[in-house]
Symmetry: C2
Subunit: 241 residues, 2 copies
DNA sequence: CAAATTTTTTAGGCTAGCCTAAACTTTCTA
DNA sequence: TAGAAAGTTTAGGCTAGCCTAAAAAATTTG
């Protein structure tokens, strides 16, 4: 209805806002269809964009005029079909770049986010295509996040669980490390907790979650246990201590 | 004397201005030491930057305050030591990216300029290092331009000659294709006139320069003959017609 | 060497995106 | 359900980088 499909190229800031509306609206979990997304509050956007709420309001009005979001005062914002496509495009760039840096240039999986964040707005479709081909059209980036397809669609996501929601004894495979905080990423990398790693929940205590990774046992603060998504495989007995 | 070595990160526009001061100040030829560069006029910069002279004046004043250029009203501008380093860094990024796109991702040598132009300001030192390593620390980009070393030094350049300055019968190897105009690049690529190609000058006529490339004969407009730099190898007889 | 031409500068404006402070809703809670 | 807290908007400002028009300086030329 309201899409002005007229394509004046978007600014970096505009693309970032759209991306964050998508990420915030999809909840922590996978990322369903557009219909499943939630409205996002100005405040949440302000936090993510490291910007004051007043600045967000201004940008949302602009994006609404462009037909990229539906914005209703005090009731949050959500993407239109057009805005959704833009957001997915940016996300595809980001995640393809991460995968490429990791696999082609030997970056550590915990290092790729920052570099991709800068590059995602500046690569051409040709570049996107070439690295996608080089990578063999991967479905996931090095953090375990889904990469939107070239047609800008997201495959259905397998339901995983946060480590914080596991029960004592359950184990599984790290499916996603859903944080962008560099310190957290470094810590996860140091502990070997990257996508694909086996991990077992020992117990939840007040300070966090005790886990076993290989022969090591660690205590993960709650905030970290919240961003580690586990693909469950079963239960098992664990030797005490 | 006047360098404020304080490193507030430069804007994209500032980096571009510095790069153009370097390129314009070095004349068409190689690119000597800083001492050998000429002062560059506001007008020339305006042409290159696709901007009005008044805008250039403003930027030059800012760069002068930052200690990156020496600027004297009506007498042009030249880089300071600090500005020279910045310009070389940008140039290194640009040319390494060109080489990488060509060699690692299969871009045509005539396609790489535009993509590199966008990326050069957005890559980290880590990225620079990794692609330089992947490439084996190349000395030239796909257009035959010198790549500044990691220490930001330029090796001495071998004296070549413009095609337009060759005499009938002389032949040699294309050393550099010194244009950024996409149409010209496409034409050169179409004719096989890329760095490394053998070419012979048949004769200069009013409309341009007649050349032989392999078994083909072409007429190059003067403007194109001016940007094709040839490494001379000798003379030889050519069949008429 | 003075007049014409070119180049450069000044002055005033514009847009994008951010800011703060203050004024407003709306929502939560006792 | 009233008052407090949270969230949102308005209004006015700032910087970067560009613009135009007109003034001023330098250079070229007859």
């Amino acid at each position: 209805m309201s899409e002005l499909t007229a394509r004046t190229p978007l600014s970096e800031a505009q693309e970032d806002y759209l991306k964050q509306v998508l990420l915030l609206g999809s909840g922590g979990a996978g990322m369903g269809k557009l219909e499943d997304t939630l409205a996002v509050s100005t405040q949440d956007l302000a936090d993510r964009m490291q910007v004051k709420p007043a600045s967000v309001t201004g940008m949302l009005k602009k994006l609404a005029e462009l037909g990229l979001v539906e914005y209703e005062a005090y009731r949050g914002v959500r993407l239109t079909e057009a805005g959704y496509k833009v957001a997915l495009e940016v996300l595809r760039h980001h995640r393809l770049i991460e995968a490429y840096l990791h696999q082609a240039l030997g970056y550590g999986w915990e290092e790729v986010h920052a570099e991709a964040e800068k590059l995602e707005h500046h690569i051409s479709e040709a570049f996107e295509q070439r690295i996608a081909e080089w990578l063999g059209h991967p479905s996931h980036d090095p953090h375990g996040d889904l990469i939107p397809s070239a047609a800008l669609e997201l495959p259905q996501t397998i339901p995983n669980r946060r480590l914080a929601a596991l029960q004592s004894g359950q184990y599984g495979m790290v499916a996603r490390v859903a944080t962008q905080d560099q310190d957290s990423l470094n810590l996860f990398a140091h502990l070997g907790l990257k996508p694909g790693a086996q991990v077992q929940l020992l117990e939840h205590i007040a300070e966090g979650s005790r886990v076993r990774v290989g022969k090591e046992r660690y205590l993960l603060p709650i905030s970290l246990a919240q961003v580690l998504w586990i693909h469950l495989e079963g239960d098992s007995y664990v030797d005490p201590i």
